[in-house]
């Protein structure tokens, strides 16, 4: 993976085991002309390795710090909740906004994620149209509306 300096601070880490969801996100980005580089991790362990730059991400520049994390909850192995918990209890990682995107609309999950410090909780719309709209809105909010901390390049 090559790092484009101009794109630093625009990386999105998508933690998603479902290929179709990954494709949906990509399609949504494409349709919305959003050109943020999207890095995909398929499970929680991989996501943590990436964030801590371990194993295959240990090489310098192999894992640019993401500006945003889109996190699915139900993942094989280490699941999204654990990833969220670990990220939010780590001094270095806790200022990265985490948007939970999951199929679960269970209130207990919602409460729990916010308690751990999730920045948003989005239930995945069932239809592709809904999904696409949600992704575009999120992008517009997090990249065009709000200000993010400057330490993203660290």
């Amino acid at each position: 993976m090559t790092i484009n300096q101009a794109e630093l601070g625009r990386y999105i880490l998508l933690v998603e085991d479902s290929d179709v969801d990954y494709e949906t996100v990509l399609r949504a980005f494409r349709k919305g002309n959003l050109n943020n580089p999207v890095i995909r991790c398929e499970d929680g362990d991989e996501a943590l390795d990436y964030l801590y730059r371990r194993n295959q991400f240990a090489a310098l520049g192999a894992a640019p710090r993401p500006a945003l994390v889109l996190l699915d909850l139900n993942l094989p192995g280490t699941d999204g909740r654990e990833v969220l918990e670990e990220m939010k209890s780590d001094e270095y990682l806790k200022d990265i906004p985490v948007i939970v995107m999951t199929t679960s609309s269970d209130q207990r999950d919602v409460e729990r994620c916010y308690k751990y410090g999730a920045n948003s909780y989005v239930a995945k719309p069932v239809s592709f149209e809904g999904y696409m709209e949600a992704v575009q809105r999120l992008h517009s909010y997090w990249f065009d509306t709000v200000m993010l901390p400057d330490s993203m390049s660290g």
């Binding site: 179709v20 199929t103 609309s105 999950d109 592709f128």
Partner: protein
């Protein structure tokens, strides 16, 4: 006391008077008798001397002056001489008279007399008359004295004598009245003097006699001593009569001293039941068998009929010669003491009975843990005998795992005077070493200085309850587990089933986008339907989850303004309602009710949505309101009605069935058929009812009631929440 004194004085005066009068009368009578005898003697001497004189004079006349003139003449001359000599002589006394008479034929002829006869001599009195009694006796030849009637008819004392030679009777007489007169005078004088003496004497005795006064003073001093004594004091004479009683005694008996003195003590003052005993005790004292008795309890009978319990002491009284003259006794009123003793005794008995019969185990425990007293139930619960338990300490019979806590609690109770009791559930060890659960309530009894005396430990056997609790706990756990499984199932249904659905939908979209042209119109349509079906399945899954959640989640009930709630729902639906031109009517202001606002919103959302959806009229309307039952104004009936398509009667019972749809998916929008089932469940969770009335083609009305209470949220979920707090998903 005064009247007593007076009485005594009067009696003594009367006795004295009677005695003196008697003595005087006797003296006077004797004197009278003597006077009479002396007078009689004198009169006899006079008559005798006169007779002798007359006889001698007659003899002389006969011898010396020859009886020439006959005997008659001689006699006459003699008598004349005698009489003449008498004429000038006051012979004896004022009424004294010397009489000579002779019988002629049947008449007594008086020849001589003094003053009374001098003018009318000779006087003749018929012999047959009762007059001239002495002369009659004389003329009948008798001599003697008599008290009789004279020729005047007056009673006289007379001496009479017959002079046989001359055939004449002589009488010397004096009026009895004259003889009596000096005597009567003497009597009067003497009586007067005696009376004066008596009166004076009594007065002096009564008023001035110092001896009597000293006696009186002694008595009153004694009475005073008796009166100031705290106890009742009575003195009885040797017959058992009350001689003296002090003030307390009178008060105790409720009578006056005057009325009590002289009464037979036992018969009058001792209560009937105790009379025999009282009598025998008194006899013991009066007979000298006992000199003193103490602590005798006898009930006295008061004047008003009530009785008091008196504790008596008695002692014999003896005179100078050691003879028993009576009994002195003192008594203290112990009625109240006896009564309080009795009530104490009763209270003790009552306590004992309560203690023993109590359905809970009770033990009195010393501060060091020794068991002081225990009741039967306590022994039963622990399976010991009373004697065995009394040798134990509370620590020994407490289950080891509770000893420390119990000890700390007891210590806390002793240390904090404002803490009166504590209760805990703990286990005791039975005799067979098995443990028994008891509900243990302990209070501390302190003495007057606030020092702990003993603990009152009340135990209630809750072994059975504990066992039930354990069983219930297991049951609850089971329920919680099955609930969780159900939950997990719902979760899986909502998440894991949905994910592939979304995949299907997404891919059908991708295919449409990427290969749409290659598929052709028919292919595109079918792929679209496939996506729609997958979407419907996703909706069904969501509703299923929602439905199952209504049954399990706790309600959060608060005061809710229905107007606000309905307004919120209408705001959400506004766009759709305006599009369909539905007129929403709320004829009356809605009430504020206690319910779970979120769920209630869901109810109205579903009902309003349905009402708007199933309507094919030109002018659609929905009415939202509340009714009251005619016989129960408290009972509110909420309703949502419409002028929609209505429901066929045979479908009315099915409208609340889960996923039951009455119309095909294409007609009237895409419902899942879960809405009314969820509504019904929510209403039931509010302990209410929901029912529907409808006329096909005319409209439908849904009615529901709820029970408004703030603790409606207590549900199985709470228990599940507590016990599954740590469950991670």
């Amino acid at each position: 006391m005064k009247s007593d004194k007076q009485k005594a004085a009067i009696v003594s005066v009367v006795v004295l008077t009677v005695a003196l009068c008697g003595l005087m009368s006797m003296t006077l009578w004797l004197l009278y008798r003597t006077t009479l005898r002396l007078e009689q003697q004198r009169l006899q001497e006079i008559v005798h001397s006169h007779a002798v004189l007359i006889e001698e004079f007659f003899h002389v006349q006969e011898q010396f002056f020859k009886p020439s003139a006959g005997q008659e003449q001689t006699l006459e001359s003699v008598l004349t001489s005698v009489l003449n000599s008498h004429l000038h002589k006051q012979c004896f006394g004022k009424s004294g008279e010397f009489l000579i008479a002779r019988q002629e034929n049947e008449n007594i002829i008086f020849w001589s007399g003094q003053e009374h006869l001098s003018n009318s001599l000779p006087l003749s009195v018929p012999k047959q008359s009762s007059l001239a009694e002495p002369m009659r006796l004389a003329l009948s030849g008798k001599n003697g004295t008599i008290a009789g009637t004279d020729y005047r008819g007056k009673t006289v004392l007379a001496a009479f004598r017959w002079v046989p030679e001359m055939h004449i009777g002589l009488v010397a007489k004096i009026d009895l009245a004259e003889v009596r007169q000096p005597l009567l005078r003497t009597t009067a004088t003497a009586s007067g003097i005696v009376l004066l003496l008596i009166l004076g004497g009594s007065a002096v005795i009564l008023r001035f006699n110092p001896f009597l006064h000293r006696l009186e003073e002694e008595k009153s001093r004694a009475q005073n001593y008796l009166d100031i004594a705290g106890a009742m004091i009575a003195v009885l004479d040797k017959y058992g009569r009350l001689k003296l009683i002090n003030r307390q005694g009178c008060e105790m008996l409720g009578g006056q001293q005057e009325g009590l003195i002289g009464l037979f003590w036992v018969e009058h003052c001792i209560q009937f039941d105790d009379r025999q005993r009282g009598s025998s005790i008194l006899q013991l004292l009066l007979s000298g068998t006992k000199e003193q008795v103490d602590g005798i309890e006898l009930q006295v009978q008061r004047v008003d009929g009530t009785s008091r319990i008196i504790e008596w002491s008695g002692r014999t009284l003896r005179d100078r010669n050691e003879q028993i003259i009576g009994v002195i006794c003192s008594g203290a009123d112990v009625t109240e003491r006896r009564q309080s003793e009795q009530s104490l005794h009763d209270a003790k008995e009552a306590f004992q009975a309560t203690f023993e019969q109590a359905a809970v185990g009770i033990a009195h425990v010393a501060p060091d843990g020794r068991l002081l007293r225990i009741n039967r139930k306590f022994c039963t619960i622990l399976g010991y005998t009373q004697d065995e338990l009394l040798k134990k300490t509370i620590q020994e019979i407490t289950h080891p795992k509770h000893v420390e806590h119990s000890y700390a609690k007891a210590k806390e109770l002793a240390a904090k005077p404002d803490l009166t009791t504590y209760a805990m559930e703990k286990q005791y060890l039975r005799r067979d070493s098995s443990a028994v659960w008891v509900n243990h309530t302990v209070s501390l009894v302190r003495d007057g200085q606030g020092r702990p005396q003993y603990y009152i430990s009340v135990i209630e056997d809750i072994q059975a309850r504990k066992e039930i609790e354990v069983a219930l706990g297991e049951r609850t756990e089971l329920l919680v587990r099955s609930n969780k499984e159900l939950d997990d199932f719902a979760y899986i249904a909502s998440h894991d089933l949905k994910e592939p659905l979304r995949g299907i939908m997404s891919y059908s979209t991708f295919i449409l986008e990427d290969y749409g042209e290659k598929l052709g119109g028919d292919g595109r349509d079918r792929l679209k339907v496939m996506g729609d079906l997958a979407g419907r399945l996703a909706n069904l899954t969501d509703d299923l989850l929602s439905f199952s959640r209504v049954g399990r989640l706790a309600l959060a009930c608060h005061q809710v303004d229905l107007n606000q709630l309905v307004a919120d729902v209408l705001a959400t639906l506004r766009v759709g309602l305006e599009e369909d031109k539905v007129d929403v009517r709320i004829p009356k202001v809605l009430p504020t009710i206690v319910c779970d606002a979120v769920r209630m919103r869901e109810v109205y959302y579903n009902l309003i949505t349905n009402a708007a959806r199933y309507n094919d009229k030109e002018e659609k309307w929905i009415e939202i309101g509340v009714l009251h039952r005619w016989n129960d104004l408290e009972q509110q009936i909420f309703y949502v009605c419409d002028n929609g398509i209505g429901i066929r009667e045979r479908h009315l019972s099915k409208v609340f069935t889960m996923f039951k749809r009455l119309h095909s998916g294409n007609k009237y929008g895409h419902g899942t058929g879960a809405g009314l089932a969820i509504v019904k469940k929510i209403i039931e969770r509010h302990e209410g009812n929901i029912w529907v009335e409808s006329e096909e083609g005319e409209g439908t009305a849904f009615f529901f009631t709820i029970v408004q209470k703030s603790d409606c949220g207590v549900w199985l979920e709470n228990i599940a929440d507590e016990s599954s707090a740590g469950i991670s998903l």
